[in-house]
């Protein structure tokens, strides 16, 4: 369909042609390659010869026993067949993804999932034309290899705060909503089957209920794929998404229950309470398994200081093991995976190096993206290939009942839930929740798993499932974006949390906990507070290596912010932009961008610029303390260490003198700093280098720890003081001893080594505020 959008310009046409050719070129060998060996050894080889593009191999084989010339070039496909096919499929999927984003207008109103399914259809069609047997999405592959990365990605990056605040609502939707859906759909379909026609009459109640259970579950993959593109507000996103994750337990129980008994033919009354108990076992068991593996992962990560390179592997392996272990016992693998990801994340992030953290993040995103793409493509392929048995009544009724059940379920449940919620769900919200109930590949795979001998109507089920999936993904997926805009639903806020919000949120948390205590009410905050305290006291000590366990959350947040800003600073190439960037980067409500470009930036002298650059470099490295031992070599004696230590000691002395002048805080003086604190202090150095603010700049330059009384920040004084101190500062900095200069310009590795050993000193004091200039 995208071929119809051929534009005028020849370059784009060239791109399309290229894509088309490549598509054909990769698909044909793919389809051929996927075919089973039933053709015999000769035929595949011949077809592969024809269809392979650019391999350039000359077949030089002869099977006679005569001594032949030593084959210079050989063609032996069979031994690499399987990995080759898999790689080719993944390559195709990724190229498709690339292709979509090259087509400008398409990706804005068609969600990617739809495009991928269409591609799958095309590929399936092509394979069928070629005459080969196309690969079908085997349920094993789906459940064991394709689904876990997506779920782990979702679980690891699950936003905890909105999730836990809305957990009640999510559970109600997931459990009761899914139950309602499956029984409603199953029951009504049974009714339809009875009156339907003679081929439908054979379908009993249980298969219908089973079908209802399969089709009623909202699919996390589809929801993720669609909702990520519409940027809806956090609450709705977490409600629908959380529901899609947690309904897995219900689906598992119902599926196994009905599948078991559909074979037998009837369900006794005893089985109902058993099923009920089974639900709890499945759900809580899955969570428990995930919890156990998550804690194991966190504990392991505590010891990885010397083997940073394999840190991400632990995160992935433990999670995957959690999933598989849960599947062994028929517990909910998805819930295990989510629990594992959620539990291990805070501890792992505290323990591992920065680069491992990035690795985990990008690997997860990459794998889940590839999985998602493959799933949708395969869905398309399976549609073309799969056994179909179309029955108008059944399919249409299924579709209608699905929609009706969803709407009724959401409306009814919201009515009940709103009695317990503080912030009620409006009608708009309910509409979006109902509309966002997309079905996806999980339903298809579950249907595919049905044994054909027990379920002769399996083909019809599959057809109906695919129809529903197509309908929800295409129709609902494509129209949800315009609907969201039309209904003016609140969108996701793009800006990150400011430090104000962080501080005040914590403040309010404490306040609310206190008020709850005054009321004698054990509410949400009370338990959250208890959990936090328990966490801090016992768990963090075990699971987090070293001093990082004592780091309060606020400080950790502040570090992250500082780090981001420093990196941003360097990335914008803006050494000269420091005055503007530092003071405006974190201010969202001041008009930063225009001011930056209009302002005549102060011309710093070369020496000062050099100093600022050095300080920035050192600060960047110091804030990246997480990769403390990133270089694998052991520490060597450092010739520069003495100079560095001297400087630090000098600064410490100065700071102590300065401290005596600050008499408004009653906190005891110097503690041996944890590495994080010196890091944070050093990282606050950019603040100190807000030089020469011009008059009329709306930004404040605040002088941290200025000698004057901190109670009143007199802006005018600050400005004038800064200008004088700037000069002083300049002079001061130029007076570095040569050795400290070299210290600064030496390479990264040494600096980091040095830093490690100097961390017991409280770090350097932000320059320029002290009375005594910093003299050697």
């Amino acid at each position: 369909m995208w071929l119809g959008n051929l534009p005028r310009s020849s370059s784009r046409r060239g791109t399309y042609l290229f894509l088309l050719v490549f598509l054909l070129g990769t698909v044909l060998p793919l389809g051929v390659a996927s075919s089973p060996d039933s053709h015999g050894t000769d035929a595949p080889q011949d077809t592969k010869h024809e269809a392979s593009n650019g391999h350039g191999h000359h077949g030089n084989e002869s099977h006679t026993a005569v001594k032949k010339a030593f084959p210079v070039l050989n063609f032996e496909y069979e031994s690499v067949r399987l990995p080759f096919e898999i790689a080719l499929w993944i390559l195709l999927a990724s190229l498709m993804k690339l292709g979509f984003h090259l087509i400008p207008r398409l990706s804005s109103f068609v969600p990617e999932s739809c495009l991928l399914i269409v591609v799958g259809l095309l590929v399936g069609g092509l394979i069928k034309i070629v005459g080969e047997k196309s690969p079908v999405l085997h349920s094993q592959i789906f459940f064991l290899y394709l689904l876990p990365p997506i779920i782990l990605d979702a679980g690891y990056f699950l936003p905890i705060r909105p999730f836990s605040e809305n957990i009640g609502t999510i559970l109600v939707f997931a459990v009761i909503g899914t139950l309602w859906n499956s029984f409603f759909i199953g029951g009504l379909l049974y009714g339809v089957c009875q009156i339907g026609g003679k081929d439908l009459e054979k379908i009993g109640l249980l298969p219908n209920l089973l079908f209802g259970a399969i089709i009623s579950a909202v699919d996390p993959v589809a929801v993720l794929a669609v909702f990520e593109e519409i940027h809806i507000n956090e609450l709705l996103h977490i409600l629908v998404f959380g529901e899609s994750l947690l309904n897995d337990a219900v689906t598992v129980v119902l599926y196994h229950l009905f599948e078991e008994y559909a074979g037998v033919g009837s369900v006794t009354f005893l089985d109902v309470p058993l099923g009920f108990i089974c639900f709890f076992v499945v759900a809580l068991g899955g969570v428990f398994v995930g919890l156990a593996y998550g804690l194991l992962a966190a504990f392991t990560s505590r010891f990885t200081t010397h083997t940073r390179v394999i840190e991400p592997l632990f995160a992935f392996l433990y999670s995957y093991m959690a999933y598989l272990s849960a599947e062994v016992f028929h517990l909910s693998g998805i819930m295990a995976l989510i629990a594992c990801g959620v539990v291990m994340r805070p501890y792992i992030e505290a323990n591992i190096s920065h680069k491992s953290h990035t690795t985990i993040k990008y690997f997860l995103k990459m794998w889940s993206s590839v999985s998602e793409t493959l799933i949708f493509i395969f869905l398309g392929v399976s549609t073309v290939a799969g056994p179909h048995s179309w029955n108008w009544t059944f399919v249409i009724c299924t579709l209608v009942f699905c929609l009706v059940a969803r709407v009724l379920g959401v409306v009814g449940l919201t009515y009940i839930i709103n009695k317990f919620r503080i912030v009620k769900l409006t009608t708009k919200d309910q509409f979006i929740i109902a509309y966002g109930g997309l079905r996806g590949a999980i339903a298809f795979s579950l249907g595919y798993l049905l044994p054909p001998d027990h379920f002769p109507m399996r083909d019809m089920f599959l057809t109906a499932i695919i129809t529903v999936i197509f309908f929800t993904v295409f129709v609902q997926g494509m129209t949800i974006q315009p609907l969201v805009d039309l209904l003016a639903v609140k969108k996701k806020q793009e800006t990150k949390r400011s430090i104000n919000e962080e501080i005040h949120s914590q403040f309010l948390d404490h306040l609310l906990t206190g008020i709850e205590d005054v009321c004698g009410h054990y509410g949400h905050h009370h338990w959250k507070d208890k959990l936090n305290r328990f966490n801090k006291k016992y768990i963090k000590k075990c699971l987090i290596a070293g001093d990082r366990s004592k780091e309060p959350q606020l400080i950790a947040f502040y570090h992250k912010m500082e780090m981001k800003q420093a990196i941003e600073l360097v990335e914008t190439g803006g050494i000269a932009k420091i005055p503007s960037a530092v003071s405006t980067v974190s201010m969202q409500n001041i008009q930063p961008k225009q001011k930056v470009t209009e302002r005549a930036l102060p011309q710093l002298s070369k020496g000062k610029e050099e100093e600022i650059r050095k300080i920035l470099r050192t600060n960047l490295q110091k804030t990246r303390q997480r990769l403390r031992s990133y270089n694998r070599h052991t520490l060597v004696a450092d010739p520069y260490e003495d100079a560095w230590n001297q400087m630090l000691i000098r600064r410490q002395k100065v700071k102590q003198m300065e401290k005596r002048m600050n008499n408004y805080l009653t906190v005891p003086a110097n503690h041996p700093d944890s590495p994080t604190m010196s890091r944070a202090r050093l990282s606050s150095d950019p603040n100190a280098y807000i030089p020469k603010p011009k008059a009329g700049i709306p930004a404040i330059t605040v002088d941290p720890a200025s000698p004057q009384s901190p109670e009143s920040l007199n802006l005018v004084d600050e400005l004038s003081k800064r200008t004088e101190e700037e000069e002083e500062e300049g002079i001061v900095m130029k007076m570095h001893t040569p050795s400290t200069d070299e210290v600064f310009t030496s390479n990264n590795a040494e600096k980091e080594q040095r830093l490690m050993r100097c961390l017991s000193d409280p770090g350097p004091h932000p320059e320029g505020e002290e009375e005594e200039p910093f003299l050697p």
Partner: protein, 194 residues
């Protein structure tokens, strides 16, 4: 709750309280119960010591400030009415209130909630959060492991972010603005007090 009718009538001034705060009679009864539990010497008023005897408040970093908030303007004791009035700030906000033209702002509106929180920061009641006050609160929340410089940088960054008129302090309007994205109605409400 069959005895609600007679029980509520035991509560002094129940009707005015209901009108002022919007609590239902069941809630007022519950809160009165709690008031009596807290009132150790049974004289119908709460003193600071009564509130300080709540164990969890002692470990709460903001415990002292919260207790101070219950005793505005330096009074020594509070009666039930003032007790409930403070707690009314944490009642969940109703979405569509009928606003009488000359009615004062309800105690549990977003603005009132924010004002209450602001007062906890602003100890000297000058209508602004100064750097020192912010530092005090930070110090309370963060504990002793963190050094002063670090806290100071955080405080400075905070003021930088929020301060729009450049006076180096955070006024109530700026405070409100910095929290405009936070769902105060949910965050500062206790379900119990519905």
């Amino acid at each position: 709750m069959g005895a609600t009718g007679s029980a509520v009538s035991r509560v002094p001034g129940a009707d005015e309280i209901q009108k002022e705060t919007g609590f239902s009679s069941a809630h007022i009864y519950r809160l009165y119960d709690r008031f009596q539990v807290l009132d150790k010497d049974d004289n119908g008023v709460l003193s600071r010591r009564d509130l300080q005897s709540i164990g969890e408040l002692a470990v709460n970093p903001l415990g002292d400030r919260i207790i101070d908030a219950f005793f505005p303007n330096g009074v020594e004791t509070i009666d039930f009415r003032s007790f409930v009035r403070i707690l009314a700030h944490f009642r969940p906000t109703e979405e569509n209130r009928q606003r009488e033209p000359n009615a004062s702002e309800p105690l549990n509106s977003r603005n009132s909630k924010l004002k209450f929180a602001f007062q906890l920061y602003d100890q000297d009641k000058d209508g602004k959060i100064s750097r020192a006050e912010l530092l005090q609160v930070l110090r309370m929340m963060v504990g002793v492991e963190v050094t002063d410089e670090q806290l100071e940088s955080i405080a400075d960054r905070t003021i930088q972010e929020a301060d729009l008129d450049g006076d180096g302090t955070i006024s109530f309007e700026e405070f409100k603005k910095s929290l405009e994205k936070v769902n105060i109605e949910q965050k500062m409400s206790i379900r119990f007090l519905r």
